[in-house]
């Protein structure tokens, strides 16, 4: 999870002035642990230890903290083995030609050079950009609307509605993907049969490049709307009710209050949710694999699918590692740009 937006998200109301003055993530944690007393208080202790460690110089001081260090060591050891080592090994690997076994042949920047003019890779990158614009704006708006409804005082059985909205997200993506595939089948699928009742169709949902992308977007919205709604809901609940009431007293309509008060205050949460959607879209793998197999004619093939095929079908481990690195750099770049633009500087 990206640290910056998550730090600011749950308390949107005090976003601007404080955030600007606190560049490091550690003080943010203090804000949190202050909010949530009790179990989280261990954070405060850790953080104190960390600061004392920073101040300390020399092995003697280290020795003094041997027990705390020992207790926190499992995470760092595991992280080093399963996190740091693969990342560094991939970098090394990306400079080589390797079939997954046997000697690695050093090729320098050759993999990166080939990647720069690899049409398949860049067209898959274009695919995810297109997919992003197909479903993320719509999903984000729907999430805000749904979250507002779920947050509304007049709604009965709130818990049930929230559970229902979130339910698709915890459904197995493989099962959901196959179900969508059956529903969208050109000749026998339920969607086309339903359209047929109104004299429409049949629509070749999965046989046409653009329709297949739209179908994939629908699946993504179905699967991720609930998740984003819950994030928005958490944001909404941090906005004091008094602000809306005050606006209403001053004569604003419900709609005006929503647009002028709620949405602006919700902006850090929206930024957070869109950031996650960017990362999620770029990492899309299971959804297109099940629904379209990347087709038709590679129209829904994503970089992740290419990286996987390059590794396991084509046995080009070095090239796949180079793809991963370039693609990682692009995600970071896009995320930073998005934070800059959308947040107008109050988060980034």
């Amino acid at each position: 999870m990206p640290p910056m937006p998550s730090a600011s998200a749950p308390d949107g109301r005090r976003a601007s002035p404080e955030m600007g003055t606190e560049p490091s993530p550690i003080p943010d944690r203090r804000v949190h642990s202050g909010d949530v007393a009790g179990p989280r208080s261990s954070f405060r202790w850790n953080q104190g230890a960390a600061r004392r460690l920073r101040d300390a110089a020399g092995v003697g001081r280290l020795w003094r903290f041997r027990w705390p260090l020992l207790f926190i060591s499992p995470f760092y050891l595991l992280f080093a083995i399963f996190g740091v080592y693969p990342v560094l090994f991939s970098l090394w690997l990306s400079l080589h030609d390797w079939r997954g076994i046997g000697p690695m042949r050093y090729v320098g920047m050759e993999n990166y050079r080939f990647l720069m003019r690899d049409e398949l890779f860049w067209s898959s990158m274009l695919n995810v950009v297109i997919l992003f614009f197909i479903y993320v704006p719509l999903m984000t708006v729907l999430a805000i609307v749904l979250a507002s409804l779920l947050n509304a005082g007049f709604l009965r059985l709130q818990g049930m509605w929230r559970a229902l909205v979130f339910l698709p997200h915890i459904t197995s993506m493989v099962a959901a993907g196959y179900t969508f595939r059956l529903l969208l089948e050109t000749r026998s699928g339920f969607v086309n049969q339903a359209l047929g009742v109104f004299g429409l169709g049949p629509v070749a949902w999965l046989d046409d490049r653009w329709l297949a992308r739209v179908s994939l977007g629908l699946l993504m919205i179905w699967a991720w709307l609930g998740y984003n709604t819950v994030i928005m809901l958490a944001g909404l609940q941090t906005i004091p009710v008094e602000l809306g009431e005050a606006a209403r007293v001053d004569g604003a309509t419900r709609m005006q209050a929503f647009r002028q008060i709620t949405v602006p205050l919700l902006r850090p949460v929206i930024v957070f949710s869109v950031t996650l959607s960017i990362i999620g879209t770029f990492q899309m793998y299971t959804e297109p694999l099940i629904l379209t197999g990347g087709g038709p004619i590679r129209a829904t093939e994503t970089p992740m699918m290419q990286i996987f095929a390059t590794t396991f079908a084509n046995l080009k481990f070095g090239y796949a590692a180079a793809m991963s690195y370039v693609y990682f750099a692009i995600i970071v770049f896009v995320t930073l740009i998005q934070l800059r633009f959308v947040s107008r500087g109050d988060v980034a």
Binding site: I101, G102, R181, E185, T186, G295, F312, L315
Partner: protein, 450 residues
């Protein structure tokens, strides 16, 4: 064996296991040469007398259909080798390959034996993870379908034992042909087949075959190429998609079905695909022998008597009627300490006529072992196919399947690159010539082939 001892030392994460592998390998080498000495030229009878006291526990990877077929003869195997216990691990086909890959990268974690499709075998054989079976398979080189050995061979050494072949014929709906007034016997060439397609389409509005457009999986095209001894590459490994005119002619032939609406545009292996076959919405299926098994067992089990089979139409009057689609082999891993027991298993299941016949009878997996073809089983009429002795028909053509440059070490990649270009041709975005040129260029660029 020696050249395969090095591959495990590319990064020094775990010296112990590397040493372990080398030790195991050298022991394996001894076992192999021993088994080779015993096994030369001898066939099934030797098993009982000499190897009955072989012991061990073998782990075998494979997917459901393959494993249940192997298990058919396990009772007999246990009788012959009472001290060898078998452990089958069932996985999805793609998981088998991925996990072999992962084991290869890790240098450990292999099973003793795995089922491998020929489409993937050529990729694994050169990696140095499969045991060299050259001595053991020597007695079988002449009595297995010749084309099967290509995928198992690297530099005249053999790394797998062939199991089943996928001889191709045309499955057809008797009722559709009757209504259209077409005698299947009259279809001798692919030109005849095309004319029949037009008649059937005009008279009945029924599609001649399944041939997806934007979601085509290239399989039918590959079958037609294989029939002519063609493929992605020639015997030297040079890409021929855009240099061999018959490849282009073949693709243009398929193009006529797309352009004239004679084929059903349904993606393979989907529910709609199965359903249309079951409902008789396609008149024919140019498919491998296992397609008949699928029809019988789960696609259209109620359609007994409705389907028949005729041999592949030829390209020109003198052409071959034989092609292949699919097929699998068994490979033993180099790391196993039980080379001898593993080979006993492989030979008992795939090299023994009785085993192959029983597996064929029970699970309908077509033997590559040619000494089985004389058995009366092949002459039996098949009630599902209207009493036609279908097995004999396949046995007649299987021996003529030519060598073709379809399954090679980089088949997966070439297939994927051809696929999208072929799809663009199918929906009319480019000509057959452009499609093949683009595919060939992409393959040359990515595989360093010429």
């Amino acid at each position: 064996m020696n050249k395969h001892q090095s591959p495990f030392n590319h990064f020094a994460t775990d010296t112990v296991s590397r040493r372990d592998v080398v030790r195991r390998t050298s022991r394996g080498a001894i076992a192999v040469s021993l088994a080779g000495a015993l096994g030369m030229g001898v066939q099934t009878a030797k098993a009982k007398s000499q190897d009955a006291d072989l012991s061990g526990s073998l782990t075998i990877w494979g997917w459901e259909a393959a494993l249940s077929s192997l298990q058919v003869v396990d009772a007999a195997f246990n009788e012959a080798y009472p001290n060898i216990t078998l452990e089958y691990v069932q996985k999805d086909t793609s998981d088998v390959y991925q996990q072999i890959q992962l084991a290869a990268s890790a240098g450990s974690g292999f099973p003793d034996i795995s089922v491998i499709e020929d489409s993937h075998l050529a990729q694994f054989a050169p990696l140095g993870i499969l045991a060299d079976l050259t001595d053991q398979v020597a007695p079988y080189l002449q009595i297995m379908n010749d084309f099967k050995w290509n995928q198992a061979e690297v530099d005249q050494r053999y790394y797998a034992m062939p199991w089943d072949s996928g001889p191709v014929a045309v499955f057809y709906r008797r009722d559709v042909f009757e209504q259209a007034g077409i005698d299947p016997e009259s279809i001798a060439t692919w030109e005849d087949y095309y004319n029949a397609a037009k008649t059937i389409n005009e008279e009945l509005g029924v599609a001649m075959l399944h041939l997806a457009k934007a979601r085509n999986d290239t399989r039918t095209f590959e079958i037609l190429l294989w029939q002519q001894g063609l493929g992605y590459i020639d015997a030297e490994g040079t890409v021929i998609l855009d240099t061999e005119s018959r490849v282009q002619q073949t693709l243009e032939y398929l193009g006529r079905f797309w352009q004239e609406g004679l084929a059903a545009d349904t993606e393979s292996w989907t529910d709609a695909w199965y359903q249309e076959m079951a409902d008789g919405e396609v008149a024919t299926i140019p498919g491998a022998v296992w397609m008949g098994t699928f029809l019988k067992s789960f696609i259209a089990p109620d359609a007994a008597g409705k389907w028949g089979v005729f041999k592949l139409p030829t390209w020109g009057p003198e052409g071959s009627q034989a092609s292949n689609d699919g097929g699998s082999s068994l490979a033993i891993f180099q790391t196993t300490e039980q080379q001898e027991a593993a080979w006993a298993y492989v030979e008992f299941h795939l090299g023994r006529v009785e085993s192959q016949l029983e597996m064929y009878r029970e699970t309908d997996i077509f033997p590559a072992l040619e000494t089985t073809y004389t058995d009366p089983l092949f002459e039996e009429p098949d009630p599902y196919f209207g009493g036609q002795p279908v097995r004999a028909l396949f046995a007649e053509t299987v021996g003529n399947i030519p060598d073709a440059g379809i399954y090679s070490a980089d088949y997966q990649e070439m297939n994927s690159l051809l696929g999208s270009e072929l799809q663009r041709f199918a929906i009319g975005e480019q000509t057959a010539e452009e499609a093949l040129k683009n595919a060939a260029d992409a393959i040359r660029e990515r595989t360093r082939r010429s």
